[in-house]
Amino acid sequence: MDLTLKIWRQENAKARGKFETYKVKGIPEDASFLEMLDILNESIVDRVQLPIAFDHDCREGICGMCSLYINGRPHGPDEGITVCQMHMRNFKDGSTIVIEPWRARPFPVIKDLMVDRTALDTIIQAGGYVSVRTGGVPDANSIPIKKESADLAMDAASCIGCGACVATCKNASAMLFVSAKVSQMGLLPQGKIEASRRVQKMVSKMDELGFGNCTNTYACEAECPKEIKVTNIARMNRHFLGAKLGAQKMSG
């Protein structure tokens, strides 16, 4: 495959970036998108220039590091998949591909296509945990958990924290991510105890970091590589409202 790539280049966080156009030739259809960038980078290095920086780690769709905004969609055109798992056969030979970093105020660009997603970790640090040790794996059925709750918690827990939801949202809202984390713990007995405190802390951290407000466009659900559902957002809204109205005033 021969392709024209328009790629965002930015030397560092402070520099002004711009799009550079690259032509690549003879890319195999079975290459993954990142492999295609590797091939391009090799040729750039051969010319003794700086390769394009982009985030990646596992390349098997589980770590959440890869983060490219391709032709107006995070993780590219394929559904329910991260960009490291997406193959070049999704593109037509001879086409032009625009590659940009995630854009959101809380995700500053570090270099080229890499952005700093510490903000998501900061939200987790605000309350996305269970404060006490819950021990090893308990005996099956020693704590009864409804099958439905277990399934929903498991689904929510499949969020890999990639930030595609923020990247695609026209409001740069982190609601899908936060609601997945809130649900994953709030649905299970060990996490329920701190649920009302957790949801309030995480939401206020999310706001403080400058993510936008959710306006229910559901672009996040459409683009999430792990297919996290917006029903998690409704659950978070519900729990938050319950916590604000019902729980005692929070201290500390």
């Binding site: 940009e100 519900r238 409202l241």
Partner: protein, 225 residues
């Protein structure tokens, strides 16, 4: 004011949703009264005038009117605040954006909202301010007897083709706004349920079609006759 900004993003959305649902309910009442402008029955003018008289003089409605105003102001103010914050949340825009599948009208809530707001101001100048005595009743071929003769005021306005056409366009835009708004309000309130959500979505769609259609029949009637 500072307090309004201080509320969390979720609280803002709850308040907007409640205010919005309240306004949506009021719209039904408004439509039912308006429909009596049409010759549905022999004494439709009388019924219309009685309804208007009730709406303008009943003390309970007076209280309600304040709540309604509050609803409008809160909904509009929060709509603007939320939108400005959302723009600020993405200072650098994408070169190529918005290719994700989303609910279509959700992207244009601020635009449809602002158009509705502009119309609302015109609407107030035409009717509500007349009632308050702030503006003169509009002139027209029909004699307007007294400041509260809303029937003839409406007939005068709708006799103007341009006004009628503008009215129709605005109401269609209102329909777009309502289409996303209805189900969105329930989502913001956390009311999502595998059994009832499909029903809510269906009601929202029907509501956003039927209510505007109802309003549109009135100018259409005047355009035809």
């Amino acid at each position: 004011m500072a307090k309004l900004l201080h509320y969390s993003s979720l609280t803002k959305k709850f308040i907007m949703a409640i205010a919005g649902l309240f306004l949506a309910t009021f719209l039904i009442v408004h439509l039912v009264i308006n429909l009596f402008i049409l010759p549905l029955t022999g004494n439709h003018v009388e019924i219309f005038e009685i309804a208007v008289h009730f709406m303008t003089s009943n003390p309970l409605i007076k209280v309600f009117e304040i709540v309604l105003f509050g609803g409008f102001i809160i909904h509009i103010l929060y709509g603007l605040i939320v939108q400005i914050q959302n723009w600020l949340a993405r200072p650098v825009r994408y070169k190529k954006e918005g290719y994700s599948h989303t609910s279509f009208f959700s992207k244009y809530m601020i635009h449809t909202g602002i158009i509705i707001l502009i119309f609302l101001v015109i609407h107030f100048i035409n009717f509500y301010f007349v009632k308050l005595g702030l503006t003169e009743a509009p002139e027209g071929p029909m004699a307007v007897a007294g400041d509260h003769d809303f029937y003839h005021m409406a007939v005068n306005l709708f006799s103007n083709t341009w006004y009628s056409v503008l009215y129709i366009v605005i109401i269609i835009i209102l329909g777009f706004h309502l289409n996303h708004a209805f189900q969105s309000a329930f989502q913001s309130l956390g009311l999502n349920h595998s059994k009832y959500t499909p029903f809510i979505k269906a009601v929202g769609t029907i509501y956003s079609i039927v209510i505007p259609l109802g309003f549109i029949t009135i100018p259409v009637y005047f355009l035809i006759s």
